[in-house]
């Protein structure tokens, strides 16, 4: 450090000093970082248990220095339910992609939410199956090209992108739902605050907390990271608007 300066931002130590396998510019890395910042700042390494999905973030446990379990594709919500019910004092989160949470895992997602399972969903919606090489996800935008919608997603046969935040907000026992993104510094800060708030609400036992991150996949969107931010702004956010869809009364949280 140069003399006369102080360090004001550094990589959290709970994010292990390993190169993450994610593609350049992928928000999976960003969200990992954010979660570990919270873990470090709150000093809750011994309190947090994470569940990885099957998806690009399947290896999350290689990087996050907390106890973690790797769930079967789509079943992270059921796995998190199992953990949280056994260890109600811990902070449990499931980290899931859109294929995982909104396709194969729909039933587990909806019912964990409906029961008000007291853990936090961190839902990385990049509109595509990243890990398997870019197939259409339930959240793929209308007209978007993927390897299984090579001519663009066709609503007549595949429907319209599913809005999970809006959907789970309908469920009574869900306490908090917010959609965030990491496409700008301001949004990234908000994303972190949202996860913090979710953890807080979880610690109060108020019900299911659900954070959807409008994410990117430069590799399978076949664009640069920079262009992926454009896509998010121009295409994704108009359809998946950011914001709080549901939250407990302020008194309850504080």
């Amino acid at each position: 450090m140069k003399p006369g300066y102080e360090q004001i931002y550094k990589r959290p130590e709970t994010l292990l000093p390993k190169r993450m396998h994610y593609c350049p510019g992928c928000f999976h890395s960003t969200i990992h970082k954010i979660i570990m910042e919270i873990v470090e700042e709150w000093d809750i390494q011994d309190k947090v248990i994470g569940v990885c999905p099957v998806g690009c973030s399947v290896f999350a446990y290689d990087y996050l220095d907390i106890d973690m379990q790797e769930a079967a594709h789509g079943r992270a919500a059921a796995v998190a339910t199992g953990i949280k019910r056994m260890l109600p004092d811990k902070i449990v989160f499931s980290y899931q992609g859109d294929g995982d949470l909104a396709a194969i895992g729909t039933a587990e997602t909806i019912h964990a939410c409906n029961r008000g399972e007291n853990f936090t969903f961190i839902f990385i919606n990049n509109g595509i199956y990243g890990m398997t090489g870019g197939q259409m996800a339930p959240t793929t935008l209308e007209g978007q090209k993927t390897t299984t919608s090579p001519y663009g997603r066709e609503p007549a046969t595949t429907g319209m992108p599913i809005k999970m935040s809006e959907l789970v907000s309908q469920l009574i026992s869900v306490a908090y739902v917010e959609r965030v993104s990491c496409n700008t510094p301001a949004n990234t800060r908000k994303a972190k605050r949202a996860i913090e708030k979710a953890f807080k609400i979880q610690m109060k036992g108020l019900g299911t907390t659900f954070i959807e991150v409008v994410s990117n996949c430069p590799s399978n969107w076949k664009c640069t990271p920079e262009e992926s931010l454009e896509w998010i702004k121009e295409k994704a956010l108009p359809y998946f608007p950011l914001g709080v869809f549901k939250e407990p009364a302020k008194e309850e949280v504080e």
Binding site: Y5, I8, Y9, R19, K33, P185, P225, E226, L229
Partner: protein, 74 residues
Amino acid sequence: MPAKGYVEISIETCKGCNLCVIHCPTKCLALNTSDTNSYGLHYAYMVDEDECIACQNCAIMCPDAAITVFKKVS
């Protein structure tokens, strides 16, 4: 006048995604197009050491937590 801040970027951690570069309000970052790290990627570095205002934008946007930010003690 010494800059308000500066950043350190881990060359091997950086993936050259350019997100820090485009979000630096004072344009003091760039990718090193003439060199790559051992993963074959053009890493980011400070092109202009004097302009950094320690706003942390770059670090917040850096997916891979490759950036450390330092601020002048006032």
